[in-house]
Amino acid sequence: MRKLIAAEAAKTQWILIAFLIAVDLLVNMSLGISDLDMLQEYYAANWPHFLMVVYNFHTMFFFPLFSGILAALLCSYEHRSGGWNQLLVMPYSRTRMYAAKYIMLAMILAVIQLTFIGAAVVTGFLTGVEGNMDLGMVIISAFSGWISILPLAALQLWFSSRLSSFGIAFSLNVACVLPNIVLSGLHSLYGMWFPFVLPFYAMMPQGTPFAPRVDELSLYVWIGISLAAAFLLGSRSFQKKIIT
């Protein structure tokens, strides 16, 4: 299994991933800083409000969109130039090959999440956000944000392993993050069925004006169930994949 993951890592174009992270950080940190100045008459320039602004676009657009781009990227190496033939005649079970791709995807998303949270904290301190930062809350939101992207990542890998066009995958993903604008306003019981909105529910700091109404128990039970279902269905479909 470790060898399969190492092979995935060797194939991955890390420069592209660095670029995605850079865009994510640049947009969200500048939004955080500028909004902090602009919105001072409405909100106190404290940590929960700063994180709310910084998290907003990351959870609603960037993070779900990246899960799709990355899944398509990880499968594009095999979709191009007969790569599936090459991979599937290796002496490893298909379940393991699929799991290795998923673990790679989840790990890259974890790296993105860690870099994002790290940058948010550093930016907050540099711009002089008021009050004390609740470190526990920041760590929990980073972790729960990552957990909440996993069902979507499983779904993305399932589709990407079937769909060879990177362009179509990208357009579909852009189209799919747009309903988040509406769904993020709903109570989590109604919105959580749409996997793209899960990171928003899981990460947004509660007690802030943008915070969604969340029922945590049902949210995390659903994250667990949908993750297992999407992964198993994707893996099953991969077992049956026929190379033409």
Binding site: K3, R80, S81, G83, N85, V89, M90, I243
Partner: protein, 243 residues
Amino acid sequence: MEQYVLETSDLTKTYGNYSAVDGVSLKVPQCSIYGFLGANGAGKSTTMKMVLGLIKPDRGSIRVFGRPFPQERTRILRRVGALIESPSYYGHLTGYQNLRIVAKLMDVSESQIMETLEWVRLENQADKKVKHYSLGMKQRLGIAMAIVHRPKLLILDEPTNGLDPSGIQEIRSFIKSIPEKFGMTVLISSHLLHEIEQIAEHVGIIHEGQLIYQDTLASLQEKGGDLPLERIFLEMTGQGRSL
């Protein structure tokens, strides 16, 4: 009794009403080059893909090294190398990186990677991205990736397709030397009679999904008497089209 490296029995694959492969029983003897000959669409690739587990047969059985496939798939594939509908490669990586990925998955030492690169004469191009390789170089890399772990059975599906005459000559000379140099058995498919004639000792002819001949090339020549090989093939397939 002769030991077969690869043996299929009644291998069949049907798509709707169309039989792509119909009751094929291949017998590939050890350390030979077995030429699998047939026109385009005759069922060569489908048969090879079934042998490698890329396509599931509707009927029939496969034994590789005397072991049942796919029941012992992982164990068997450790000792099989393949180049299917080539070339297969990761274009954004260099030749060396491509080979290293396969080597990693197959537990191959660094020195064996270098040795293989030298053997296919790519050692000076190893640090170039594969998307900038010529087709001939890609094909040589494909062969390197298929043999880097020194398999006992090498399966090559039309390895000279699309190459220019000098490229064909080059690949042919590589393939010819494989059984002796590495002790591998080679199963190679082609739609070109003269190609198989130049490298193979055993030959199987597939026509419209059915294996219509299987024996040594010499006995095929004997069977035809004074007729040129091309004539024998055309008569066997009952068609005027050239193989």
